[in-house]
Amino acid sequence: MMKPEWLARSLLVALLALAALAVGAGWYGQRGVVTLRARMPEGGGWSPGEIKADVGEPLKLRLTSDDVTHSFAVGQLDLPAVDIHPGEMSEVTLVFDRPGKYTYYCTRWCGLNHWRMRGTIEVSSPDPSQTGKVVVGETPLYLELGLDIDTPHPAQLTPGSKPAASAGRARLEQVPLKYRGLSYYRTHSPAAAWEALRAEPFARDLSDAQVWSLVAALWQANTGAERLAEAEAIYRQNCAACHGENGGGDGVFAAQAASEAASMDVPTSGQPIDAHDLKTPANFTAAESMLGASPAILQGKIVRGGMGTGMPYWGPIFTEEQIWALVDYLWTFQFDYSLEVNP
């Protein structure tokens, strides 16, 4: 009687073991692979939101989306963004050569809270001398200078029309050298530069508008066409949703972003956000606020974000050079950098 019973038991155990082994083997073979699911932030954002990796070890990611098309990119890495289509799998393998905390983010406008779609990859190194280093570059200039980037900084005087750099370019040689370097440009607002130049003896015969053209030319001299083109691409992809294609602070998400700001914790200057104090995205075409800001202040705002608005922090995402290039690009909303001399 027992023989068939034992045969049956062996068969059952063998089948169950086979099932468990199949799953175990599959799991073992894929243990290094991380499946990263993308969902709109309203639906949960990235899952997982934190990934661990080791320096020099390939990190294989399988990306998929539950809702709409997203795109995966890692801040400060020279890596093309990987599109993630709903229900499909995209694969990407990352190798980090420096330890630190990297930020991955979505580069497609997937929804109102698109910019909140971020996660971190903690890359550690077996070499103890390497740990502790942070990927994010040096201390931002605004911290070095001790600038308060949250206080309004309006320009006292503004030009009547958009100053053209071309009109000031010819007189650039007359401008004292102390105004011409990168360090002057980054630490002074156009309004401050205008006031200083206005007081210079060489400018005695120039009209106010001509001095503004000189400022525009000085500002343009600190950037380049290629750099501006790169920055424009970054702006269109990451900033225009709120700040608008033309910098007017009127992007498609602008209105919602302002009302959304009430419900989130953004780093402000220690003050809790007041619902009455909601700000819409900055308007880069407004002369008063823009001409009163130095590049260092603008860079600080991009790096840190906040300001009581939905402005994200871009420090961990763009390289320092990319952020400086973006700052250069923002002046194109105030100054006409075109080469032809306007009549």
């Binding site: 019973e5 049956a8 059952l12 169950l16 468990a20 199949a22 799953v23 599959g26 699911r37 899952s47």
Partner: protein, 461 residues
């Protein structure tokens, strides 16, 4: 007693006893084929749970989701139930571990039996708990159908519950009173063209031991089988009958339906109505054009979802039952011999069964054909890790090249309507003469017609 004979048995003229087929007979009388099938389904079940827990968290890439909710569900609705009634129950892995513990062996029965064998509480009898569980799973369908972890936990809970209940209560308490699938599988088994029946009741009357009843895992006494709703088709009675007096018959569809019933039990009627209501609700959510409804059903716990839940429960527990009760009341109002209303409800509810089964078939066709390639992909890449074991992980198979789905859906709905109307008229005939039958059945016919039009509008319109 040998089982070699059997050619001289008598069965009804519209029945064909499969146990008489010489080549099939050994397969029926041996416990091994069913045991092997159950072992395979149990191993598959364990595999599904493990993949659900440890495989890809993405539903559309996880074997557990694809196999349970597309492959198995489709097979259940299009094959097992309409053609075999409770045939899935005969290979279902859920009750097996408990049953093996209870009989002290896998293919043999020993004295090392575990379990208290208590009687199932009288108050909990009937389909009520099964309807409740089905409604709960339906309410949370957005997660259960898409999250592999949730699916795995549900499967694990079900099998643990089945094992636990088998250790406490006698026979298949889980299958009969709790399994959310068992309820509708049972009522629709009355439509299916398969039955286990006694050949000659006189032989059974003279047999004192009632071996078949004692050995039946479901606690069914074959002589008492009026319909197939409680027979799990395990065929154990055929194997143990010392007189070779039990048949496995092929029979015409709907054989268990159409005769007047004297029961006052309303659980079957309620279950039949819930199946109609849930087919309508799922059709509206998953196939209908209303994005708001779909979002509400998906956003579990949110305010819109509470609205959806309220509407879903109202439709199933109040609206459809009220509409059906009205139809029955109208049907009975004009008749001379008015049956007690409860009995009338129970009796007429038979006519809802083909309508419900074929609505579910039509609904299942709507996603089974388009999603067929998910099945081959899930087989090729069961853990959702980008494998291509069968070389088919990325192949998109269009199983509906000729766009047959709408035609099949309309056909299914029409078959269901035709059978339900036919049943309603036949039921009316049992109480009145043929000339008056159509008028008596008219409210039920109208109910079926309206329901079919709604389903048609949702699925095809």
């Amino acid at each position: 007693m040998t089982h070699a004979a059997g050619g001289d048995r008598e069965t009804g003229k519209d029945r064909f006893d499969l146990a008489r087929l010489p080549w099939l007979r050994p397969l029926i009388y041996s416990r091994w084929p069913l045991f092997i099938a159950r072992s395979v389904t149990l191993a598959g079940f364990v595999f599904t749970i493990l993949v659900g827990l440890f495989g890809s968290p993405v539903g559309s890439h996880n074997f557990a989701i694809i196999f349970v909710w597309i492959a198995w569900w489709t097979a259940l609705k299009l094959f097992f139930i309409p053609l075999g009634g409770r045939s899935w129950c005969s290979v279902c892995p859920l009750p097996m571990p408990g049953e093996w513990l209870g009989q002290g062996g896998l293919v043999s029965k020993t004295r090392k039996r575990l379990g208290l064998r208590l009687r199932w509480p009288r108050r909990l009898r009937g389909y009520w708990l099964q309807v409740g569980l089905f409604l709960v799973i339906g309410l949370f369908s957005a997660v259960t159908l898409t999250d592999p972890r949730v699916t795995a936990w549900i499967l694990l809970s079900l099998i643990l519950l089945a094992i636990l209940l088998s250790l406490v209560y006698e026979r298949r308490a889980f299958c009969t009173y709790l399994c959310p699938i068992g309820g509708f599988t049972g009522i629709y088994a009355q439509i299916a063209p398969v039955e286990v029946r006694v050949v000659n009741t006189a032989i059974c009357a003279a047999h004192a031991e009632k071996t078949c009843y004692l050995e039946c895992p479901w606690g069914v006494y074959p002589v008492a089988l009026r319909d197939s709703s409680q027979c799990g088709l395990c065929l154990e009675c055929l194997r143990v009958c010392p007189q070779d007096n039990i048949a496995l018959n092929l029979r015409p569809f709907n054989s268990d339906l159409g005769a007047a019933r004297r029961t006052q039990r309303l659980d079957e009627a309620f279950l039949a109505l819930v199946m109609l209501g849930s087919a309508l609700a799922f059709g509206a959510v998953f196939i209908g054009p209303w994005g708001i409804l779909k979002n509400a059903a998906l956003a579990i716990g949110s305010l819109p979802w509470l609205g959806y839940a309220a509407a879903f429960l109202t439709l199933n527990m109040a609206f459809l039952p009220a509409a059906f009760a009205l139809a029955v009341w109208l049907a009975e109002k004009g008749s001379l011999r008015t049956a007690p209303f409860r009995r009338a409800l129970a009796n007429w509810s038979q006519a809802l069964l083909p309508l419900g089964l074929f609505s579910w078939i039509a609904f299942t066709v709507s996603f089974a054909l388009p999603k067929f390639s998910y099945i081959t992909n899930a087989l090729s890449d069961p853990l959702g890790q980008g494998w291509s074991l069968l070389g088919s992980a990325q192949v998109v198979v269009n199983a509906d090249k000729f766009n047959l789905a709408p035609i099949l859906q309309v056909a299914a709905l029409l078959v269901g309507l035709y059978w339900s109307v036919n049943l309603a008229v036949n039921l009316a005939k049992t109480e009145t003469g043929a000339p008056l039958a159509l008028r008596k059945a008219a409210p039920l016919v109208a109910f079926s017609l309206l329901y079919t039009l709604l389903m048609l509008g949702l699925l095809v319109g």
